[in-house]
Amino acid sequence: MPLVSSSLNEWGNMNSAAKITVANLSRRTLKDKLFKGLVLFMSLITISPIVLIIYKLVEKGYRQISLDFIIKTPPNTFEAMTALSNGELIPGGIANGITGTLLMVVLASVIAIPVGVITGIYLYENPGKLLANLTRNISDILQGVPSIVLGLIAYMWIVKPITSGFSALAGSVSLSIMMLPMIVRSTEETLKMIPESIKEAAVALGVPYYKVILRVLIPTGFSGLLTGILLGISRILGETAPLMLTALGSSVINLDITKPTSAIPLLIWEFYNDPNMVDLIWSSSLLLMGMVLTLNLVSKRIAARTK
């Protein structure tokens, strides 16, 4: 007879095979707890960068944020150096970056939104067609093209042949190619959620097709479309690499789309490479993050409100 009586070691009158021993039980319960602990720990690690990054930006950047920061252009290296050696805040701001970013984002949106929405409608209207499937697949693949490659493309399409030099237009084109597939997919997904009956009601009244689109589909799915567009904008807002190849940067405010233009991320890159200006990276990043966060929150709000 074993020392541990079988009644302590097993439960019930199970068949010989189906024994769950104390050892089995405690091992498994422990494993279960450990695994959950691991999942919690890893999840915490995963979100810690976002907290740490935002904390760092605020901690090092908030002092620089002021009205001047938004309405003035950056100082030259010498001015920055003087301020540094006197222990003062670096004067000036990033107005050229803010205006450049706005200019290029608006232009990119003007290019990408109409094409993207109309293409999305086409996909929604012809779900099974060969051409639609092709378009959908290509659009999905476009969505994964690295932004730096889009920079190369805009360089070859705009910088060299059209504006014969770096330009805001080239930057916008690279950003618009980036935005386009996102808008296509979000438009299609949004329209798919509109009940068929709403559309049928309009079609049955004999309303021309374009009116069905303009008066029924787009208004009904408006908040969904808006969410997609805002998310798209928030993604291109921080793009740096393609702009290095296209818009290049400018030390003054420029609103001419055929001329080189700055952008907030381009300025961050410049400050990062200039030891005298490096203090400005935090405040610029803080502002950029603020814009991205705001767009994200607004689009989430809109999405939540319509659900």
Binding site: W11, G12, A18, I20, R28
Partner: protein
């Protein structure tokens, strides 16, 4: 007491003052007590939403998987209090069959039957495994239909076959009691009658507690019946007695089709 007419000696399961609330204070099962007869089929009847599934799931302590569900009372299985026993052991002893057949779609028929062993980390020799699979599938009269396709996915079977596979999965573990929640409601009449025959046969070796919506099914195969209404156990007795001579007016109205 309500269940005066039931005097069950050596019950397989005793339910004592069982209450379950999904939201605080709002009980879906209210203070139910009953002894379940060994080697018999006991049916739980009642109109939709009266708490049948809730009670059955409480016996397997399924409610503990979800937060905010409050369970009170105690359960005694084969003379052992299972109220605070680790759920792993308890669930091994109480097999559960669900309303909709739910074989594991990623597993073969063979692996579905011994899923309980695999999940519990019990290693069997190949020979033992084969034995368990064949015995369980024979028990549910599925063996002849699937013996050549044991390594196909369980989801290729018909609905009725899938449900029998799920019963086999529960039987493979040799449970003390089998809990079934409307096991035939998703099946056609032929598959239903197969399962009914099977349950009658199984009670030789197993104790069966089954929720059913179908009064004639309860009449056909159960030995004891419970009638629940609004979370309460209204009446409990031999099925014959209950159908011929219901004590409570609500039971009578339900059995005669006045509501439910």
């Amino acid at each position: 007491m309500k269940e005066d007419n039931v005097n069950i000696k050596d019950p397989v399961l005793s339910i004592r003052n069982l209450s379950v609330a999904y939201d605080k204070g709002n009980y879906a099962v209210k203070d139910v007590s009953a002894d379940i007869k060994r080697n018999a089929v006991t049916a739980i009847m009642g109109p939709s939403g009266c708490g049948k599934s809730t009670m059955l799931r409480a016996i397997n302590r399924m409610h503990e998987l979800y937060e905010n569900i409050e369970t009170k009372g105690s359960l005694i299985l084969n003379g052992k209090d299972i109220t605070d026993m680790p759920t792993i052991q308890l669930r091994r002893m109480a097999g559960m069959v669900f309303q909709r057949p739910n074989p594991f779609p990623t597993l073969s028929i063979y692996d579905n039957v011994i899923a309980g062993y695999k999940l519990n980390g019990i290693r069997l020799k190949k020979k033992e495994r084969d034995e368990v699979v064949e015995r369980s599938l024979r028990d549910v009269t599925l063996w002849d239909e699937v013996k050549d396709t044991l390594h196909k996915k369980g989801t290729f079977l018909s609905g009725g076959q899938q449900q029998r596979l799920c019963i086999a999965r529960a039987l493979a573990f040799d449970p003390e009691v089998i809990l079934l929640d409307e096991p035939t409601s998703a099946l056609d009449p032929v598959a239903t009658s197969k399962i009914e025959d099977l349950l009658v046969k199984l009670k030789e070796n197993y104790s069966i507690l089954m929720v059913t919506h179908n009064m004639s099914q309860a009449a056909r195969i159960s030995d004891y019946s419970m009638f629940m209404y609004l979370g309460e156990l209204v009446e409990y007795g031999k099925t014959k007695d209950m159908f011929t001579n219901p004590k409570d007016r609500r039971t009578e109205e339900y059995l005669t089709g006045k509501f439910g």
